[in-house]
Amino acid sequence: MSSSFTKPVPTPTPVTQPFWDGLNAGQVRLQQCNPCGRWIHYPRNRCPSCLSADIDWHDVDGIGEVYTFTVTEQPTAPHFSDEVPQKLAVVELPQGVRLTTTLVNVAVSDIRVGMAVKPYFDALDADTTLLRYEPV
């Protein structure tokens, strides 16, 4: 069943643009704070530990593990009725950051907390790529 609602897509901001540019190029980019070394996601103008503005972008492989997940039998909003069952997940990267995503190319019954996953670059159009995940 397709949805009559317009699918919500991210609109990058000046601060977050490099993250989305990275995804469009098939690359996961994360920020790291230079003074304190903390990795940062989602992107910010200041480090959420020391509030430094001295932050650089780095390319990472994006491989991580499922920290938690849920499978929804009801769409979380009508916009996602064509995605049910939604395989929502939180992925933790070795850099210590977590991100919200959805899992693809995996059977519902195979999803486990702790399973290794890798990025799946889902290009919605020329301007927007979402970072989904699939089993390694």
């Binding site: 609602f5 699918k7 919500p8 991210p10 009801q74 929502l88 939180v90 991100l99 995503t101």
Partner: protein, 399 residues
């Protein structure tokens, strides 16, 4: 640190909670006026004694909400607060009111959270698709608009389900224990005429066979939207002595906020209610073991489980066994949600947490009728906003 415990809840009002409301629809200002009148009459106070108010959002205004309410009630106030803590709002209202009273800037404070439907607008309104995103902000620049909503991580069910799933991976998950919590609460709620599920107890099998909504959460573990709402009046010690009921003193409180989206919680299964409750107990000079009852915010079963653990009613990882091994009804050693909780009342918009505070007051005052506890001097109350992102706790005691 903190309150001396001299400010007290002296009266309350609570709408009957109904799944299919057929009564008169009222704007939030109108419900504010009605609830305030009812709560004043309950306390035995004259409306003109009100000199403070604590509100949350109203449907009729996005800004200047306290002034709008003061004007509508015709009550000039020395103290006005707007609390924006989701389901933790009611608890947050109570301590703010008590603090203002102890500061001496006001004597009588009304707190209300309306939750009845408003009248239908005769002018058709355009459909706003973003309203389905509920508490996730779709505004440009909002982290949720960019990193949550496009993936469908919005509303409450999936966030709480992911917390429950993580809990299960760390400590083990027992669907039967969670079902028993629902059964015990619904047993309490069956004795509460204000509850949407009055006289409607359920069995373990009813819960386990209810529809899976977001794995592992099932329909009967999730609050049902209803019409309702409630209000409280707090007063200083002198005024409280003149009121109709045993004063319910605000002996301690705590509040702790961490994140908006659980993805970014430092630890998804160690929740902000821990530090909030520790502060509340320390301020009041009591521990979890001293409580006669616990009115625990229960948007979902997992919320109650984590609150029992993090507030110290049992050890970390022991919550499932606690639910299995203890009678949580009004007959148990520590009754939980003696009104049946929101799992029995239903959740009336942003007013769900008010039911927990009202019930604690009702029990301590000795006015809980068929479900009145024999020992009813001390209550723990919790509030939970967002997806366990902002939580608050109260210790209420009889005078």
């Amino acid at each position: 640190m903190g309150l001396s415990g001299k400010a007290a809840i002296v009266g309350f009002a609570e709408y009957q909670h109904e799944r299919k409301y057929v009564g008169e629809r009222k704007f939030y200002t109108e419900q504010w006026a009605e609830l305030t009148a009812l709560a004043c009459a309950d306390a035995g106070l004259l409306p003109d004694q009100i000199d403070g108010l604590v509100c949350s959002d109203i449907r009729e205004a996005g800004m200047f909400v306290p002034a709008t309410i003061a004007e509508y009630l015709g009550k000039p106030v020395n103290f006005a607060e707007r609390v924006d803590l989701g389901g933790a709002t009611a608890v947050g209202m109570v301590w703010r009111a008590a603090a203002a009273i102890e500061l001496g800037i006001c004597d009588v404070v009304v707190c209300a959270l309306p939750g009845l439907p408003i009248p239908s607008n005769p002018i058709p309104q355009p459909v706003n698709e973003a309203r389905y995103f509920q508490s996730s902000s779709a505004s440009w620049g909002s982290p949720q608009a960019e990193f949550e909503i496009p993936y469908g991580n919005l509303a409450q069910n999936c966030g709480y389900a992911m917390i429950a799933q993580r809990y299960g991976a760390e400590y083990g998950y027992d669907p039967v224990a969670m079902a028993k919590l629902v059964v015990d609460q619904r047993s309490n709620g069956a004795k509460n005429p204000n509850a949407a599920f009055y006289n409607k107890p359920v069995t373990i099998d009813d819960v386990l066979n209810s529809k899976l909504i977001a794995d592992p959460l099932r329909m009967l573990e999730i609050v049902m939207p209803v019409a309702g709402g409630g209000a409280l009046i707090l007063a200083n010690e002198e005024v409280a002595k003149q009121c109709n009921h045993r004063p319910v003193r605000v002996a301690g409180f705590g509040e702790h906020l961490t994140i908006k989206t659980p993805t970014y919680a430092q630890d998804m299964v160690r929740t902000p209610v821990g530090p909030a409750s520790a502060q509340a107990f320390a301020m009041a000079g009591f521990g979890a073991g001293d409580m006669d009852m616990a009115q625990i915010y229960d948007c979902y079963t997992i919320t109650v489980l984590l609150t029992l653990e993090d507030a110290g009613f049992c050890g970390k990882g022991e919550g499932m066994a606690y639910l299995r091994d203890n009678d949580l009804t009004i007959n148990g050693a520590l009754p939980i949600n003696t009104h049946g909780g929101q799992l029995s009342m239903g959740q009336a918009g942003g007013s769900g947490g008010m039911t927990q505070v009202v019930e604690a007051a009702r029990q301590i005052m000795g006015r809980a009728d068929d479900r009145q506890l024999a020992k009813h001097d001390l209550s723990y109350v919790s509030g939970t906003g967002g997806v366990m992102s902002e939580q608050s706790a109260l210790i209420l005691r009889g005078a």
